[in-house]
Amino acid sequence: MIVPPPSLTETPGRTAVALAFADVHKSFHRGRSTVSALRGTTLSVPARAVTALIGPDGAGKTTIMRLAAGLLRADRGRIAIFGMDPRTGARADHAYIGYMPQRFGLYEDLTVAENLRLYGDLQGVPHRQRTARYEQLMQMTGLSPFLSRRAGRLSGGMQQKLGLACTLVRTPKLLLLDEPTAGVDPVSRRDLWTIINSIIRDEGVSVLVSTAYIDEAERCHQVIVAHDGRVLAMGSPLELTRTVAGRTFSIRTSIETRRGWQRELSSIKGVVDVSTLADSLHVLTARDVSDLAKMTHERLPEAIVELTPARLEDAVVAMLTPPGPAQETTSSERDAPGHSQPHRALTPMITVKGATRAFGSFLAVNKISFEVRRGEVFGLLGANGAGKTTTFRMLCGLLPPTSGQLHVAGIDLRSAPAAARARIGYVSQHFSLYGELTVFQNLRFFASAYGLGRRQRAQRIGWALDEFDLVSVRNAVSGALPLGFGRRLAMACALMHKPDVLFLDEPTSGVDPLTRRRFWRRITALAELGMTVLVTTHHVEEAEYCDRLVIMVTGRLATSGTPAEIRSFARTPGHPSPTMNEAFLSIVQASQDSGGDP
């Protein structure tokens, strides 16, 4: 369970402002080109509360953080932390800043205890206060058993917790956290929030946290929505949600009807967004819902329309969506990649039987079996270190299994990994394109790497530029593109050779909600056309987009099934409709409690 933050009414003096930006401008010069990161940002962060900073990539979130931390100097405008200039005030006790950068630099050669001690020294914490503080932090983070382990040997989630602990050795007045939960598994994510909430409650710290997770922002006192260097909206989650009140409804669906209905709904004029929520489709409209609900009923007579309350996510999507027609149908529906059999067949495209991979005595993947059929979107979920990436590498033929069998498109990966790879498109978690090449050059390179002829190459490149909206950045150097573009380009490159199977490793980590939706729309469209998609994700709620999924815990399969089946595992009399996230956490917990051996 997620510990709710202390309510605002308990905290006196809530009107005090911890951090204020007044018309702040900041641009960066790279060579001859200038990039404006902030164009007149005005915001305020209340004291003794948690404020979430959300917005798409390139909104200027990290720049805001760095300016507040005093690491950058504003070109114009004023920044004040408890009334002090951050560049001089950072040393003053009453405006002491704790800042945790996106990639918190732990010294990997130093142990957990040595890292803590170093930051204690650097932050000037007196020795007599330290022992108690270290103990408290280690207890909060659950790192006590690992004091003498080197930071480089900790899991990603633990490293993030240690980074937070190091930032907190001296209690800051203002705590700045730049995407502390990006790329962190749901369990560690929950732990991080528990720590953050408890220090606000117990120590009266003011917190500004940037995040890509709307559900995290929903639990904060204040939310700031940034876009393109400006602040679009600022207020409590409730206030922001109210802006789209009466503009949402949902309809109950089944696996069979869902995708068709989603397409149908998206094509209705006035519909802004259609998302999957548990067993329903959640619809956000541009205006009052009533006539649209009626129109929905006319088009889909068997659908049951229910009015549902708006969520913060709807408000954010509405703010970020440019006005205009809701959906453009993607061109992939005309020109299909992969095989042109539109129907989902029962042919298994991926078969894994008792696959095991050992590294020394450590079993990264332990006797897992599953089957993915043609045209399915299949999810692979799990905490950091659960064995997802290892499974992926085995399926791509990059890593031979220690034992067990893996087949992709009917080809045994042990005997013919190269032949299997020709049928696979793989998008890795990290940017694996040539950063110095332009978008077009990258596409051309991958097309020739897959051995396409000149004619086919030109045709596929044209398709990719269109399909992934890359025409406008055709000649831009790909390394300089925002994250969202890079991900899209990576996917385009992986689809150059019309593979039958597409592997996506954490394709949406660190990506804003709007981009994530567009991404999933693309994935479902590809699957409709017969492509088989295997995807890993940290955003558990995205599991709803999958046809079926498995959850891995410490190398084993904890459970598998459709999203509805998975959710039903966590159903209790007291809690009849658990969310996917709750289901995930309880499955992971149960599996860990049941111990190592089956």
Partner: protein, 385 residues
């Protein structure tokens, strides 16, 4: 007033605490991550062994093709002088044609020909008998040395013969040269001190530039900068540990020079270490300056080699005499810290504590270290911009 005093005292205390913590961390990293130990200790050993044995400017084992037109006692005694010298390897030839063939094929470095009247003229002639020396001049330096060595042997032989025969040598003036400081004229004796200077330039610049670049690369710099730590504390925290490490590497190099390469150490160790300390600070300062531009270890390493090692190698006067460089290039050498250090090292090793050499060069090094550290201080203002 008192409060001010108290305040500044506590500020100093906090600063000392930060610095101590930082240095402790740096040492832990040095021992856990062997790469800096590699740079400080393994690199100088490898480079000294490689260059110490590999680079020698002495011509040794010169292959001398000897053609004797008519064997005689005199010719035999003359040639035996070459056979006894370890500078030469005598290759007896049948005739001049064969000797020339050997020279062309690069199986011989020079031809020494004693014509058929050698014995007669050397015994009775009014002037010494002429001998013919043909040298392969492709490598000019070696050719000059061969020429000089053969002349030396020839003069020695004449002198000895005159002394044996009781005749005074038929010359009014004779030159007796003495070579000071390096009486054996062993090139290694001046190359090794020069090499130490070049190697220390590389080590000093690499140590600091790589470790600061590593902080940028791993993202630790951003976390570091957001703490109350001051920029000068970061700089001092990097200088002190790597200074200690660099001095360790230097001591190792000195020990190798004295005990392995038999370079005489005529000056005092104290002067040697003080001058080396001064130079090391300059080199570390260059490294810090590099790291303010290069934020990746790969780039830092490359820049360190190109901007410190290569100029030190070519322009420090360690191999190539500065006085024979064109005037414009000579001016450039004043910017090379290694130049001053080479001068001090060579004189402390071979001549002793010669203060007229040591003072000006040490002053130049001190100036350079101040300039470098000042530039570093300026370029690393706290922040990410």
């Amino acid at each position: 007033m008192i409060e001010n005093h108290e305040e500044s005292r506590s500020r100093r205390l906090a600063s000392a605490r930060r610095l101590r913590g930082f240095i402790r961390k740096e040492f832990i990293q040095v021992f856990r991550d062997p790469s800096s130990i590699g740079i400080a200790f393994v690199l100088p050993v490898v480079l000294l062994l490689l260059f110490g044995y590999g680079v020698s400017l002495d011509a040794q084992g010169i292959r001398l093709a000897v053609v004797i037109d008519r064997p005689s006692h005199d010719a035999q005694s003359f040639v035996s002088q070459f056979e006894r010298s370890h500078y030469f390897v005598v290759l007896p030839m049948d005739d001049q044609r064969q000797a020339e063939r050997e020279l062309r094929a690069r199986r011989a470095d020079a031809i020494l020909r004693l014509q058929d009247d050698f014995a007669a003229r050397s015994q009775f002639g009014p002037s010494p008998a002429p001998i013919q020396l043909v040298i392969n001049g492709v490598d000019g330096n070696t050719a000059r040395q061969v020429d000089a060595y053969v002349h030396g042997v020839w003069r020695g032989w004449l002198a000895r013969r005159a002394a044996n025969g009781g005749e005074p040598l038929d010359k009014a003036v004779t030159m007796e040269s003495r070579v000071w400081f390096n009486s054996e004229v062993r090139s290694r004796n001046f190359l090794i001190p020069g090499l130490i200077a070049v190697i220390m330039t590389l080590i000093g610049a690499m140590l600091t530039s790589m470790v600061v670049a590593r902080e940028w690369e791993r993202g630790t710099m951003e976390a570091l900068l957001s703490t109350p730590v001051r920029m000068w504390e970061v700089l001092a925290g990097k200088l002190i540990p790597y200074f200690a490490l660099g001095m360790g590497g230097l001591s190792l190099s000195l020990a190798m020079a004295v005990w392995l390469f038999d370079v005489p150490l005529r000056g005092s160790l104290l002067v040697m270490f003080l001058a080396s300390a001064l130079f090391l600070i300059t080199a570390l300062g260059m490294g810090l300056l590099i790291s303010s531009i290069a934020h990746s270890q790969f780039m830092a390493g490359h820049i360190a080699i190109i901007t410190t090692f290569l100029p030190a190698f070519i322009l420090s006067g360690f191999i190539f005499d500065i006085h024979s460089m064109p005037a414009a290039v000579q001016v450039v050498t004043y910017l090379i810290a290694a130049r001053y250090y080479v001068a001090i090292l060579q004189s402390v090793f071979l001549a002793g504590d010669v203060w007229v050499v040591i003072w000006p060069n040490a002053a130049a090094l001190a100036l350079m270290s101040i300039v470098f550290l000042g530039l570093v201080r300026r370029s690393m203002r706290k922040g990410l911009e």
